[in-house]
Subunit: 527 residues, 2 copies
């Protein structure tokens, strides 16, 4: 999720075959389901949709699909009605004179209508253009079943005939999306909310999570597709509130634990296809969040054996992190192990990073106590030192806010200090009140990941109305702009912003954005 590529391909990794075998044993069965498109649409200019393009009804009827023969440059857009993750197939026929040339077809798969208006040849972003969901297919003989072997993430499929010949046309019939997921809706914990807006926000969050639940908790099914630790933490929390698929969380924990550097450090993400490989990208708090994910798992489903098994890996992460503090308890950041917090690099992240360590260290101490680690006092002392430094040196009494860097006051510092509960509940409420008063509205933040932590800090500080309001403003606005699932990136002030320079590589179903489900269940549904 970091903008700058880290390349550390000389690094050596340890593969723990025992842990990786357990990851394999917890691999979920993927269920498939067949879906048919609900209609044929045109994509038209529409200001109420993201990117200024929305779907509009067509004169063409989906039930008459095979009655629309198509020739050079003709296009037709199938709308599956909601977001799909899976494979696509369609039957191709031909009409007219005998087929005196191959068929050359382009298929574009789009999660959002605006993607269909972007030309892949114009794409010049830093992310690989190979993610663009576009296929060019020759078919020498018709009729034929076109069965694409790759998995796509889409609601819309645009069929464009690049060429037939002047003598014949191609016909289409029986389009099918064969979706795939490890989320089992029969196990979904039901949720009925009085507020229809919140209900919609909740439901779209569930769909987002479900479509990212595959062989691992994927980052986004369209692009990236791998297992990121920071995203896993949030997916796992939302999973406990919904499908509660424990095997999948365990599989992911084992994958991270089973592949660390020789120093013991956990990668920010791992690949599982064609084989298990840790990425050579490292993010400061993503490594630490292994501890959080285990802590959260144990809270949702107490499992002493699992904690005992994975505690050594937690301890390695914490020890690596604690070496980064000076004798006063101040975090000395390392640019080769960047603090993430958010995609933006326009704000100072030191205080937020310090707070994240406090947040995780408390969870770590709880795990250390559970397994009876004799070193626990050492970590208690470190917690005091680091917390003490935060309270004494980073908190500005006058402003009632945490400072960071060169006299900078930003939202991230407050949010993470509140989440870490370094201050009293009363003080936390004041800090978030000051945040709302002095630092809101949120600006230049484009990740649902950061918005999640802001909303959670508001809830934690007791500012329930402000939390709900921000949730509606942010996730609600995605729905207003046409989201069937929540997006990887969204800045409400710049809805068309893409971190990659084009919507065609944006991921419009991205797991780190599914958390309203968790937030609503935890803070609004006292059971």
């Amino acid at each position: 999720m970091s903008f700058s590529f880290q390349i550390n391909n000389e690094l050596k990794f340890r593969y723990d075959e025992v842990l990786l075998a357990k990851a394999e044993a917890n691999r979920p069965q993927l269920a498939t389901e067949e879906h048919k498109p609900v209609r044929i649409v045109e994509i038209e200019e529409n200001d109420t949709w993201l990117g200024g393009y929305g779907p509009a009804g067509s004169d063409k009827k989906i039930e008459n699909l095979s009655d629309y023969p198509m020739k050079r440059d003709d296009t037709l857009i199938l709308d599956f009605g909601t977001h799909m993750v899976g494979k696509f197939r369609i039957r191709l026929g031909h009409k007219g004179s005998p087929m005196d040339a191959p068929l050359f077809l382009r298929l574009k798969f789009a999660e959002m209508p605006c993607e269909l208006k972007a030309e892949s040849s114009d794409y010049d972003g830093w992310l690989s253009s190979s993610w663009i969901q576009e296929e060019f297919i020759h078919v020498d003989e018709l009729p034929a079943d076109l069965v694409l072997s790759r998995r796509y993430s889409f609601r819309y499929v645009e069929l464009k005939v690049i060429d037939t010949s002047p003598k014949w046309q191609v016909t289409f019939s029986e389009p099918v999306a064969e979706t795939v997921s490890s989320a089992d809706y029969s196990t979904l914990k039901p949720m009925k909310l009085d507020d229809p807006e919140l209900q919609k926000i909740y439901d779209v969050g569930v769909k987002t999570l479900a479509d990212c639940m595959q062989d691992v908790f994927e980052d986004g099914p369209k692009r990236d597709r791998r297992l990121w630790l920071g995203d896993l933490r949030l997916q796992a929390l939302t999973n406990y509130a919904t499908f509660d698929r424990t095997d999948l969380v365990k599989r992911c924990l084992y994958l991270f634990a089973g592949m660390t550097t020789e120093e013991g450090k956990i990668s920010a993400n791992v690949f599982v296809k064609p084989e298990n490989v840790p990425d050579d990208t490292f993010l400061f708090e993503y490594s630490l969040f292994f501890i959080s994910t285990l802590y959260d798992y144990n809270k949702a489903h107490p499992d002493h054996e699992l904690v005992k098994e994975l505690y050594p890996v937690c301890k390695e992460q914490m020890d690596i992190t604690l070496k980064m503090f000076d004798e006063n308890g101040r975090l000395i950041p390392d640019e080769n192990y960047p603090i993430f917090v958010d995609w933006s690099n326009e704000f100072n992240k030191e205080t937020a990073g310090q707070a994240e360590v406090i947040y995780v260290l408390k969870q770590f101490i709880a795990l250390a106590r559970e397994i009876g680690d004799a070193d626990v006092q050492k970590y208690e002392d470190m917690l005091d030192l680091i917390s003490g430094y935060a309270k004494e040196h980073l908190f500005n009494q006058e402003k009632g806010l945490f400072v960071t860097g060169e006299n900078e006051y930003n939202i991230a510092s407050q949010v993470w200090m509140v989440l870490s509960h370094v201050m009293s509940d009363e003080m936390n409420r004041k800090i978030m009140e000051n945040t709302v008063k002095d630092l809101f509205p949120v600006r230049n933040i484009a990740t649902p990941y950061m918005y999640h932590h802001i909303v959670e800090a508001l809830f934690e500080a007791g500012l329930r109305d402000e939390a709900v309001c921000l949730m509606k403003d942010y996730w609600g606005k995605m729905i207003f702009l046409g989201a069937d699932t929540y997006w990887e990136a969204f800045d409400p002030e710049k809805p068309d912003y893409s971190p990659y320079g084009s919507p065609i590589v944006n991921s419009y179903c991205h797991a780190w954005s599914c958390t309203p489900v968790y937030l609503i269940r935890k803070y609004l549904c006292v059971e």
Copy 2:
């Protein structure tokens, strides 16, 4: 082969299942063979090659192929050393960080270097762009064996990486062309010529024929790929001189005979995949050449039963044609049943068409006699009438040449009148001498098909030196310009001419150009 598309898709055809079953029974077994590229090349400007581009050696060595990792926009060209018809596969690997994006690859297959310099996006010809031998492939997981399912016609394969990611590169190894043909070189009649230039012309012709010998005699393995009757006639003649694959000729005869219009007319070509279908294109003499092809077969391999079986189809063609003559024996052309003679429509074809009928009618009468058709006298009378008209009304005594249309004297009229032997041998010689004197050099003729008939007429008229000279000037020049196989179209005065507006859809291995093999064996090797 006609420039204007004929669309007659309301026509009804008769399918003779007995004849089509015999076509099936004569389907040849295709043999496959594996070939490896001989080197890596660059394509450089080179005036001595067709289109101004030729292959040049590269610093990269084919035996070290896998040592050249490639990233976005990198290209590499494999040279298989000569023309291949078949499938392609290659092993893909990866180097660098884990594969954090799919591979997106473009493969271009080219018979001639100049094709690799043409951009498919610039193509705007009248022929379907779907013939461009270019594939766009996404691969999600590496390593992988990329096994392309389609058949290509090529010597060069350009691998272009559209994208990987900044973190890794793709590697290539084990490229293989799996060629396919029904020509069996172990049955090839050997030919040793004293003249090395003629030997080369002969050998390239054999290769051209072999690469077009597939499930049927294909027009060209790159494009079109179907069975055309005019081409079949020439391929069959060359086949008797080389591989002598009788089953393949019989199969093709049965295919044409088994699918005629309700009126009995034979299509100019038929498709055999995915099922047998006659095209709705008709050419005047292509239908007639069914008779010639049967006549030639019976001469090469006397087969009374076959003649008896297919004679009724021959008779239908001839009867349809003879209805097109007026009471004086003059052909009245029908624009819906065009006389082909050559691609060019810049010259009048009436006299050539009249001559073609005389040529075929003589063969037809021979077949009629063989099976003892009681109507033979009627055809003899028609031959006299039509020949008489040609001699009396179309031959200009003063010029010693045949006229056509509005006082036009062109090469085609002389050539076909000489081939039809409507005049005496002595007169034929004079006609061709006059042709050489008054109408040579050949201008604006771009088909080896027409050049074949000019050379053959020179041989038939006893102008052996002129025939050899023209053969060397024409087919020899293709070799000089880099041909491994002969081309569909070539105008020596405009070597870069493409009937389609771009070399990327030109066919550089086209069966109707293989005939020097037949001409050399018939006229230069008195056995």
